[in-house]
Symmetry: C2
Subunit: 142 residues, 2 copies
Amino acid sequence: MGQAALSIDGVLEAAVYADDLDAAAGFYGGLLGLKEILRHPLRHVFFRCGGTIVLVFRAERSRIAPSGNALPVPPHGAEGPGHICFSVPGPSLDAWAERLSRAGVAIEADFRWPNGARSIYVRDPAGNSVEFAEPKLWRQAG
Amino acid sequence: MGQAALSIDGVLEAAVYADDLDAAAGFYGGLLGLKEILRHPLRHVFFRCGGTIVLVFRAERSRIAPSGNALPVPPHGAEGPGHICFSVPGPSLDAWAERLSRAGVAIEADFRWPNGARSIYVRDPAGNSVEFAEPKLWRQAG
């Protein structure tokens, strides 16, 4: 079996956890403007973000293994602050900082990495560390 | 300030947590073939995956706020099994299932969603739920 058959094209889903899905939807959908594509009122809310899906789970429910006729989706669920980073064009970062601040979301950090890429960081309502970074942060790495 | 200024182009980084970074590197780098781009022996190992960076952190270190002259990267760190999903072409899924099984990684689930997309699930060495899914899983959603 050739190596060519074993391709991975990218990250399809990135997950964070939050107890309050309405608050998560207000942040990722309302404030960030990601399109909400699926919601289960007690378990999850999902958003489209470019080619990747952002999954927000209530860990207390996603930890329960499915039973009966449900699809055998494996359980998972983490506690404590996770991290996600969005790719944002450099010229948009000032606008994002302003929008977030006006919405009462504190800018926890705003700096440039050694390669010149700028990142700003906030917390989502569940306390996850949410970064907005210029994609050149990683362009040369590795 | 126009809405056009507030663009998000996609997810730039997706994070999971693992105590054993060597084991994580063996899985994500060695077995999955993602290119390792950065490693701190006690805190993190990062991989490139298409346009997204997969971050694996040791939570006990990523929870420590930077001090002194270090860049003010906000702390984070979750415990318990997280989730990440990779986009894999449908014809590659059999090859992935075989490669993972031969490496001693159990296939925890292998099924098709109602829209016909197939997913297979394994655990990384830290217990995170790692999914390999056809991208059509989300093509029509929302």
